[in-house]
């Protein structure tokens, strides 16, 4: 009992009650999380009560939702009514949102049960989850290493089989990079595919919510319950949501796969290169037509991203003023000090760096040179993808240039940390969907991720390719040793 598919089949057949599903998740969290620390909090009583209601409805023959009884975890950037939401920042200490995010409303309406809040880099700014104001999360494959970020808790919880699905958010790679580093499957949907209502804003033109799970099939099972227009988010698109599961034919014969040559350059780890090349060969063996393509502005993506994202962040984070919600500095003399002391005292260093950088690129005299320039380069990056998708159906790249690095390895050098996002940020700038799936392991046993990209709103093709690849490989089914023992015990019982 590991995947979303496993859980849903058993729940629908009645061989597993919702209460048993929740107990299984709680048991696994209790067993594995002390060493991983993916969760910030677990809502035991409410989850049990919700599960009991599902079981009662089933017993009475009342129709239940398609995900009824499925446990899931929530990144601490997505609002759940009356439950503390901090974005792993001290500045939001005590903030209890008075409403649910649309994704939470929709998943709950489908019967899924949220079991806890997941760790992340503060305000989703980071690539290692070391920027959490609370504690770092550890990679289930090697607890001396980071799980990636910013959705590190979401990826680690799925990798260690604590919950079969979690929600993350992705502004520059924050779902895909931790999915790759933890050996799970993670989708950043097209910008506008999933409502952002109730997602605490970092960079509003780039942010998207998406699911992390153990397979493309699992993502296909969950995505229809996240996607679609929401009147509460005017940037959510009124584009029809297809039946993703029905599209998982396993047949990718004749599909055109593009390999962007700019992603296979110096700085790409040799083991990652070999694993990704082997995966591309596998897609060819499955009948796809593989060809080289060019995305010529790739080298400018990181610089463009860190101008656009920080500019938007500096505006979005202006709302943390010590007045409306969260923490407030003590012993202030006047209103200005309430603002300045609260923000200095309760924002972490990475958040301060990005606010200052964003303020700089938007300030008088620098706006044209930095911000406007970056928006123009963003157009060029988007055009690169438009041109590539005239020739091919999907693009295939590495997700991360290296496997998971060790805790503390990059925290002293912010720019080095930013370069971890080199293969993921372009996707957010262009607004297209991206899926990361496991495609191998390094000699040290660390997972390696393959990134699949498609045209806007064509998540169906990504999931179809991911599923075909996962039907032919078993990387996505391997378990880290930390939870293998637990599964051995469960099997004995």
């Amino acid at each position: 009992m590991e995947t979303v598919a496993d859980f849903l089949v058993a729940l629908r057949r009645g061989t597993l009650s919702a209460r048993e599903a929740i107990e299984l998740a709680l048991l696994r969290i209790a067993a594995s999380d002390p060493a991983i620390r993916a969760f910030l909090s677990v809502r035991t009583d409410e989850a049990r009560a919700q599960a009991a209601r599902v079981d009662e409805q089933r017993a009475q023959g009342v129709a239940v939702g398609p995900l009824a009884g499925l446990p899931f975890g929530v990144k601490d950037v997505i609002c759940e009514r009356d439950l503390e939401c901090t974005c792993c920042s001290k500045i939001l200490t005590g903030y209890r949102p008075p409403y649910n995010a649309t994704v939470i409303e929709r998943l709950r309406a489908a019967g899924a049960i949220p079991v806890g809040r997941l760790n992340m880099d503060e305000f989703a700014m980071g690539s290692s989850t070391e920027h959490s104001a609370f504690h770092p999360t550890r990679n289930p494959w090697d607890t001396t290493r980071i799980p990636g970020g910013s959705s590190g808790g979401s990826a680690a919880a799925v990798a260690a089989r604590m919950t079969p699905m979690t929600l993350g958010s992705d502004t520059g790679g924050s779902i895909r990079q931790p999915a790759a580093l933890c050996g799970v499957t993670g989708l950043k949907p097209t910008y506008g595919r999933v409502s952002r209502y109730g997602l605490v804003a970092y960079a509003s033109s780039l942010d998207q919510i998406g699911p992390l799970a153990l397979s493309a099939e699992d993502v296909a099972l969950v995505l229809p319950h996240l996607a679609g227009h929401d009147p509460q988010d005017s940037t959510s698109a009124a584009v029809p949501v297809p039946d993703y599961v029905a599209g998982l034919s396993g047949d990718i014969r004749g599909l055109r796969v593009g390999v962007p040559k700019e992603y296979f350059v110096a700085g790409l780890d040799q083991e990652v290169r070999h694993a990704v090349q082997a995966a591309i060969a596998r897609l060819g063996a499955l009948g796809a037509r593989v060809e080289e393509v060019s995305l010529p502005h790739t080298e400018y993506a990181i610089a463009t991203y860190y101008v656009v994202a920080t500019a938007e962040a500096s505006s979005n984070l202006a709302r943390y003023d010590g007045i409306h919600y969260g923490a407030c500095a003590a012993d202030t003399q006047n209103l200005l000090e309430v603002y300045t002391n609260t923000r200095r005292q309760f924002f972490g260093d990475e958040v301060i760096r990005r606010i200052m950088l964003g303020t700089y690129v938007l300030s008088a005299g620098y706006y044209d040179a930095y911000y406007l320039k970056a928006l123009q380069v963003r157009t060029l990056i988007k055009r690169d993808f438009d041109a590539a998708f005239e020739k091919v159906d999907v693009l295939v790249t590495p997700t991360s240039p290296t496997p998971a690095f060790t805790l503390g390895e990059r925290t002293a050098d912010p720019l080095q940390m930013y370069l971890a996002d080199i293969f993921t940020v372009s996707v957010n700038l262009a607004g297209i969907p991206g899926l990361s799936i496991p495609c191998g392991f390094s000699e040290k046993g660390l997972p390696i991720g393959l990134q699949l990209l498609a045209k806007p709103f064509d998540e169906a093709t990504l999931l179809k390719v991911g599923h075909a690849y996962q039907c032919a490989t078993d990387y996505h089914t391997r378990r880290p040793a930390i939870c293998t023992d637990l599964f051995d015990e469960e099997a004995k019982e």
Binding site: G94, A237, A318, H324, L336, T359
Partner: protein, 94 residues
């Protein structure tokens, strides 16, 4: 190259109470990141339209119907200082 004075000015614009010791830590980091961003200048973008947003959206409107609003006590529930139905702040008028 961004100077100590520039960084102090940025801190003020960003409403961050930064000490000189803070500025000494952040200045070289911002210098390093800005030096990296400088590479954008090498690219000729004459006549290229800026993309602030990827969706072709224009003035999204909704029907002007009366709906539910957030109740006052819910809006105030997370405020560090509230009272009498208001957010409390230090006096701004002498």
């Amino acid at each position: 190259m961004i100077s100590h004075r520039d960084v102090a000015y940025l801190a003020r614009l960003s409403r961050l109470a930064m000490s000189d010791a803070d500025l000494a830590v952040f200045m070289p980091q911002l210098q390093q990141i800005l030096a990296y961003i400088e590479q954008l200048r090498a690219l000729d973008t004459t006549g290229i339209e800026p993309t602030a947003h990827v969706l072709p959206l224009r003035n999204v409107t909704r029907a002007d119907d009366v709906g539910e609003s957030l109740p006052q006590d819910a809006a105030l529930q997370s405020a560090p200082h509230a009272g009498d139905g208001f957010f409390r702040v230090p006096a701004v008028i002498e």
